[in-house]
Symmetry: C2
Subunit: 405 residues, 2 copies
Amino acid sequence: MTFSYISHLDCPSCGNRYDSNQVQQLCSCGSPLLVRYKLDELKENVSRESINGRNADLWRYHELLPVNDPNNVVSLGEGMTPLLELPRLGEEYGISHLYMKDESLVPSGSFKARGAAVGISKAKELGVRAFAMPTNGNAGAAWALYAARAGIEATIVMPIDAPSITRSEVALSGAELYLVNGLISDAGKIVAQKVKDDGVYDASTLKEPYRIEGKKTMGIEIAEQLGWEMPDVILYPTGGGVGLIGIHKALLELKEIGWVTGKLPRLVAVQAENCAPIVKAWEEKKERSEFWDNSTTIAFGINVPKALGDFLVLRAIYETEGAAVAVSDEELLTEQRNAARTEGVFICPEGAAAFAAVRRLKQTGWIKVNEKVVVLNTGAGIKYPETAQVEVPVLEIGDRLSTSK
Amino acid sequence: MTFSYISHLDCPSCGNRYDSNQVQQLCSCGSPLLVRYKLDELKENVSRESINGRNADLWRYHELLPVNDPNNVVSLGEGMTPLLELPRLGEEYGISHLYMKDESLVPSGSFKARGAAVGISKAKELGVRAFAMPTNGNAGAAWALYAARAGIEATIVMPIDAPSITRSEVALSGAELYLVNGLISDAGKIVAQKVKDDGVYDASTLKEPYRIEGKKTMGIEIAEQLGWEMPDVILYPTGGGVGLIGIHKALLELKEIGWVTGKLPRLVAVQAENCAPIVKAWEEKKERSEFWDNSTTIAFGINVPKALGDFLVLRAIYETEGAAVAVSDEELLTEQRNAARTEGVFICPEGAAAFAAVRRLKQTGWIKVNEKVVVLNTGAGIKYPETAQVEVPVLEIGDRLSTSK
């Protein structure tokens, strides 16, 4: 039985082909590489029904993942997160079928675990012993934890303003951790130098080709959870944009093997007003984004001034007739509170940004009342205590509530 | 099709029977009530194979849960958490088959979500409009979130020292929240007065009979995930002890309907050295515990000086030839770090206490090398930043790692 139908890597920019049995980073042209599969063979041999009885994690799709030997799978039980219907929030927005894909229910409390699980597993298969990466916090936390599970050495550099709990996750995992007085782009430069100096594997976003494969499972799961039907719209908070690229790739692959049919959902990249390079490029109908100066947002995960895969994000939007939307920190904080009060979900600020975008796109008529809309909540609200500060009355022992009010 | 085989409630202390179609709290004798099912009928009509294709959440066991009408189910996708094998940690302890049931992967990041999901669903079915409860943080967070999802009003009282993120979860959900300068027992007294004054539903631990049913699904899942075989030992960090009572109840029910056979696992209650009422009672071979004065531990969830269900916890231990173990804060903090470094799991301090107990029980020979051992990690480490403080070097933009070391 074939565990993976991986064939090779290729470059979405210049078309160059690379061997997936060797460590690869970027294409010689500077573009990220994509994993390709023997989809014809897969279509012949694997039906979507055959995965029904499998474990409820992302490895249920192992034929569409890049790891050849099941013994190299490094898992903490990630994947098959709930796709929750949110009827009351939907009613408030004026949408009949509103869903949230809840990525808070994965190891480390953020969707980054998917990329880390597949990325680390493939790194293990390729014999990688040490890597370095820059991060806005959550990716570093996930990669450090999976690295510990795999016995691989990690060096992580994150901005000093990254969510502080992610420091603990990285340091406790035994990774080498550094903070930098700057942005993720500054952390990236330090990592690039380290890679050059020490020859370690560069696990920066899209500089290794396999995290996309982990993230794409969000798209496969959404399709499976909707009974192998695609929704009309998927909204995704976009920093590096790997999730959006991955979901797009997944749905194209599913179409090719016949597990889904019909029109792809319109993909929406959601950014913060003060860090919106993709939105600006989309509004100007450009193929690539420009570096966004002095970027800032409370939704720290999407504070990415320039993404290496920007052209792939924009391509996904254009090809699906999607959109790109920027929302303010105020809007997303309001949406975070509203979601908790209305549906009992404590979402992360990045996820809240995507909800704010739904509200706006419904108001402008871009989303229609009967469309099936899926919002990615990319992480747990509990990782961001600073976005949810509250004032609470303090009682003394023996106080009485009815009178103390 | 029968959704639930619930029959009635009865008192494990005096044997009194109660109608499960009415709101019930404690037995008139002061004991918690337990839910009983028509297990003969269930055995006749439902096979364990019939649940194979169901959703990966705790409602897959709906026949063994108390909610009659599926429309009353209030869910955020809880349950079917990973049962992870931990080979390297097992090797360190000298145990061949060490597993962790990872309850960090549930809504709100703690196993309290199970009790809240079933407790709130049944409250909704019974027409409850408002409730009050004391909490050490996580239970209040879970109940407040599920209450928001159900549209039920919640009043929550927690110690001022409870994990601060749980304040945000409760307050954002729209619940009425109070802190008290004291312990959960002091919060309990304030809630009791509120219940008396305002006639709201008392959702205090074991004063409502249904959270046990939610928690018991941990036991059912462990059995199912091990191929309907029971492990030899299950260790559980014990505050109120509902999970241990629930797991014991679940396994007895599974035996009665024939889904598992053989000897029940030895159940181990793990407490903190400075809050160990159950351990003391067990060492003295008593049926009930005494109030533990000046209790304190960094594993806040198990800082419960006297549990209402103490006699049920002790009964579960005695009947399964289990044990009760107290560990120090220092031991559990060491174990928390060790688990992250060795297996990439960032566990909560309560879960870490249970791992410390495994280490000790293996050293004393109480656990044997070839036994199948399951440790409950009851929540996500990310909810307890104060237990995982780290010192991290700070770089300036353009710094070089290799030289800055």
